[in-house]
Every structure is written in structure tokens, then in C-alpha cells.
Symmetry: C2
Subunit: 419 residues, 2 copies
Amino acid sequence: MMSILVQKFGGSSMADVDKIRHVAGIVSAAHLQGNQTVVVVSAMGKTTDGLVNLAKELTKAPQGRDFDMLLATGEMVSASLLALCLQELGFKAVALTGGQAGVQTENLFNRARITAVDTQTVHNYLNDGYIVVVTGFQGINTLNETTTLGRGGSDTSAVAIAGALKADCCDIYTDVTGVFSTDPRVVHEAVKLDEIAYIEMMELARLGSKVLHPRSVEAARRWGIKVRVRSTFQLEDTGTTVMDEQDMNAMDERVIAGVTCDKNQALVAVLGMPDEPGSAAKVFTRLSTKGISVDMIIQSMGKEPHTNDIAFTVNTWDLQNAQGLMDRLLGDLGARSVEIDDKIAKISIVGVGMIDRPGIASGMFEALAEAQINIKMISTSEIKISVLVEKSNADKAVQAIHAKFFVAEQSLVDSKSGY
Amino acid sequence: MMSILVQKFGGSSMADVDKIRHVAGIVSAAHLQGNQTVVVVSAMGKTTDGLVNLAKELTKAPQGRDFDMLLATGEMVSASLLALCLQELGFKAVALTGGQAGVQTENLFNRARITAVDTQTVHNYLNDGYIVVVTGFQGINTLNETTTLGRGGSDTSAVAIAGALKADCCDIYTDVTGVFSTDPRVVHEAVKLDEIAYIEMMELARLGSKVLHPRSVEAARRWGIKVRVRSTFQLEDTGTTVMDEQDMNAMDERVIAGVTCDKNQALVAVLGMPDEPGSAAKVFTRLSTKGISVDMIIQSMGKEPHTNDIAFTVNTWDLQNAQGLMDRLLGDLGARSVEIDDKIAKISIVGVGMIDRPGIASGMFEALAEAQINIKMISTSEIKISVLVEKSNADKAVQAIHAKFFVAEQSLVDSKSGY
């Protein structure tokens, strides 16, 4: 039986007809190598943004059923053009909408989740020798209405289709060569990772890595599909494979997968709350009912006896809202004051290797101390340690931590992977 | 029971967001007047041409299944934008693709014919108080694949949907105020017709009137749906109603509906064919197998005894092909020579009134004689008379014929219709 390969190309890979022709070359090469090939595509370049802007000229907050019908057209254009291009090159190819490809979603618009993938139609075409091009980012609900999957939706489409087809691999082609240990614009020594675990990738994505959407990584883990992130324009690079940590080769050598930096964080502190049950609940219930998500939380004893201070971080775009809510809540809480600080950055290290190695956290703190950087707040989870530092120290902090964990280590990886 | 009104808006009426807002005004007014309203829309402005050009950059002759998926997106964009705009104005509105609206077609791409319209979904939405916006120009085949209907397809969609819904009327909004007795750019006295019979409109459309596609008029006649052609931008004008001749008010007064002129005709003459059975068949079989349609045909005795001449007209873009075919056929036919003339124009008059009035043809010939215009060829049908004249005389011929039939007559129509 032939192996099934799913390839996904994003908007920048499909931006114009020349790039679509280039993609057709990649796809047909995979097909000629004997793979049954399914291609999932995003809309061309900035098409989706253009459609959103058209809708915004007519309605303030476009949403719902008909907005999804509008957005879904972008992928229909790119998918049909790629199919026509493959046909021109002499291949059997067919373009399918998400619905035609059996991508079923919940009855929710603008950010529906995939509930199932009925692969019958795709299988039939593959068995007839077709290259199957599927529109990413969309599906149909039980009423046969088109739904879209929200940001990063095409990655999720590709992974879900690969999972349902039991594909050998899902290749996500993009404009970078893979997942890096940190932002190469900040740290020149940043290294491309050959392998990364699903849970590491999920954390990195949540912490701001734009390479893959968290939802698509979650789907890959659920389906058990290996995802290879690679560059459309540097095909000699084998990219980064996102996979189960059990199957990774590099696990012995490296303890962390990456260092991330989020400069869009702000700190809110509610000071002098009476030390009584329910205070914290009041704070966070109020925030969550307004849709504000909170990241790091620290509760500590206040200056006066029998009082607590609660500090938490929010995204900078939620800061004004969060501050207003806390100001209005002050009397109800019996607290003294609300203070904010938006001159901070959150630096995190992520890695499944740290689970059994208590020395990792201290290594991070050492690196910061050697660089004379003060830590304002610390938060840890199983595979992640985050610290808050002054925003002006953020880049320096990333460089120091990266040097601590990667410079020595990378030589090991290099010698093993042979490049 | 409320009456059902179908309104169709073409690409120029939907060209940008301001025009879509204007269309939403027209639609919502009809809805507020108590009509159950279905709106059929074309793609915005030149969108479809843009999609065709994109495809042509990737494949020389785009066609087939995936080309239809591409083309169908244009109407999905305009339909969803109009629905969003109507919602913003406070109306319940929904956008449906051709397939969702139950427009079923044959399994043929790029110019499929509508086979049936299942109105269940549309009826459900109408009964729930929705304005239903449907993408024109498209349907689905039995395999749930999107098909398009070819040029003029949105008009046909509108008429078919109106027919299946048993609508009271199908309003085709366009950039002219209605159907004119001739081209107003050539004859300033051209009059807008209040009413025109289906078969007259079909002939006018075949003869080059761009207002409605012949296929849509045919569909209107088959479904018995009155079609009102009117202007999106001059709403005070009631337009032209295309209807069964039995129901027309104006039938007594006017004998012809219009004068048309086609300057894209060329004459091909095969001279000196032996007068034996099968010669004409050879000529026209050869032409039709190459997809060349022939309009006027005249066979006459040749100069030499026992020979015939056959002359016929083709579209100028088929001339070179037709001439080549005839040249190669000469020996087989035993004919003397092939001659061509591309400096001709075809002038036609159309009207159901001429069926019982033999004086109409002679009136046309008289008008041309008075204008000193020579007739090269004549062809007649039940409701049409066409003549070929020198192309340089074409406009003068149209003016002379129009003056003969319309100047006196129009005063009668005016006094009756009250404007």
C-alpha cells in the first residue's frame, strides 16, 4: 500500500501565480515519489484580510454564518488555481472544499472546531490516482453550512485530515525553515530544532511562537500525527518534526526546547486585601466574565497584618479593562489600592527534559543573575518556567538564558545529527 | 399569502461597497412593502474576469470542475457581503450558494443547464421572515460539485428560482432603464418598450441585445415568469416587462419590437457548385463539426448551367476558419471558387406583430430604398426579417428603418401608457 502524505501551504507560499507554480512543483515531486498526496492550502497572501476589510466597510463587527461564507472563498480560489496548475502540468488533480473533503465541524461560526473527517471522497480520488487539493480553514456543519476554523485553521485542517487518513506525515510548509530555540532576530546563535515534542510545541505556540497554532499541535497530538514544519523556499532543509517525546532521538542531549519572550504583558497588583476566603475568587471571576485571560498569578502576604496582595499578568490590550474592573472592585474587596506595571516582559523556557531535572530553574536564575537582571515574578509548570523582568532587559535576558542552555549543548546535537 | 418577489442585481450594480449598500436599500424597501424577497446576485464588478485571468496565467484554456469552483467564489463574496449589509440594517438575511438554494444542474461544467430547483430551504427561510440572498451563475450537480451556468447565468438563476417559487415577478436590475427599440447611441429617437414578448426578447438577445441572455428569456417563457428589466440607479423608471404576448397591452399598436444591427458578420460564398444532391450538406456539416455557427443561408443558381452558388454568414471571429474549411473542400465539392466579404452588417427587425401583416417586410425594404441603401441578402422567419447591407451604411439603415416603424407609432404608445 502506498503511503499517504499531507502537505499544507500557507498564504505566503500561495501568494501569487508564480508561487502557486512553485508549490505545484513540490506537490508533483512528492506524488512522483509514489506518495498518495493530499494538499491543504490557505488563501493567497493577504486575501483573507482583504475580505475582512470589505465586510468591515459594510458592518462594524462582521460575524456569523454569512461572514464564514465570505471568508471561505479565499481558500476556494487558491485550491482551484493549484488544481488547475497541476492539471496543466499533466497530473490528475481535483480541488475539494472542506465540506466536500468531509471536514465536519460543530455548529459554530468563525472559529468552529473540527468534529470529524469523513475521508471517503478523498480516498476515492487518491485511489483513482488524483492529487487531492483541499481548502484549509473551513468545514461544514450538520446543516451543510460553511464554517471557518479561526486563526491557524488551515494547519488544523491539515493535521485533522492527515489524522483521519492515517497519513505517515503532515508537512506544514511555511516561510521559515523550522522551529528555532529562540527568535533568531534577537539571538544570532539561535538553533533550528530537528525535533520537538507536541507539548513543548504547544507551550511555545501559546508563548508567542507563530510557527504553528496551538490548536493544530493539540490536534496532531490527539491524532498521533507527526508534523514536519519546513520551508517552501528552502527545500534542502528538512525542517523540524513535531512528535511524541517517546519517539524523539534528541531527548538525551537537550533539556529545554526553547526560550521565548513576550513583551505584551502587563502586571496588575491588588494590594492590601483582607485575608479572608473568597477574595481571590472575586478577582478572577470578574476578570473571566469579561473575557480577560490571566497568565501568571502570585499571592503574597500584605504589608499590614491579616492582608494579602494579589498580582497577576494580563495581555497589554486587556490592561485598561482589567485596571477598570479592579478599581471598581476595590470597595467590595476591602482592598487598599490597585497598581499596574506595563514595562515588563515575560521570559520563558520550555522543555519536557526539565521534568526530572531540578537544576534547570536554578540554571535560568543563575544566567539572569550573571547578566545583572532582576526577577520580578516567577511562575513554573511541569515543562515551563516563566519569569517577569524589566522590558528594557528583555533581549539581554533571552540572550543570557539561551547561551546558558544552548551553546554547549548544541555541539552535542550537531555531532549526532551530522550537520 | 404574501407575494414572492425575486430581484436580480448584476455585477455593475454590486461593483463596490457603496453600490452594495444601495442595493440593500432597494431590497429592504421591497421587503418592507410586504414581499417575501429573494435576491440573486452576480459577482462584484469585474471580479469574474479577474478570476479568469488568474487561471489563464496558470493554464492556457482553463475549464472543467475546478475552474467552476474558482469562478463560483465571485458570487459567494457578493452574496455574503449583501447579507451582512442587510443584517447591519437590522433585517434578517441569509446568503445561500446555488447548491444550498437547491439549484440543481446537469453534470457539465462551465455552462451547465439548470435541471431543477428544490425550493425547500429558500421557502423555510422566507417563512421565517428572512431576506434570502442567492449566488447567481451557479448550482450543484448530482455529485455535489459546484457548476457554473456560463454567460448570462445569473439572469437564468433568477428566472429559474422565480419560476420554482412561483414568484409574481422577477426583477432584473441592470445599468439601463429597460429594453429599447434600437440602440439609443445610434438612434436618438429610440424608445424604451414598456412590454415585450418572450419570443421577441429571445430574438433581440440572439441578435446582439446585451440586456438579457437568450437562455434566461427561454427559461422565463418555460416557467411563465414575468421578467421586469429595470435600472438599479433610476428607480422611478418602471422598466420593460418581458411577458407572454397574450397578456400584453401594447400589441394592438405596435408591429415590431425593435431594430437591431450586427456588425460582426461576414459573408462566405461558395460559387459554381455542381447542382447535385448533398452539396449543401457537405458545406454545413463541415462547418458545424468545427463549431462554427452559420446564420443566414441563401442558395441560388450559378452563372454556368447546372451549378449553384451557396452564400452564408458567419461571425467575423469564425471567418478565417470558415474560409480555410471551404478552400480545402473546393475539390471535393467540385466548386469553382470561394469568395468572402467582411464589410457587411446585418440589420434585423423583430416583432410578433408581423406574423399576420405581410406589409412589414415591404415597409422595411421601402425604408432602405428611400435611404438609397442596397440590400445584399434577405432572410426571414416568423417574427424576424434580416437584411445584409454594406457596413458603411449600417447606422443609416437602422435610422431609416426605425423612423419608418417607430416615429408615428410611438405617439400612440405614449398616449396610452401616459408618459
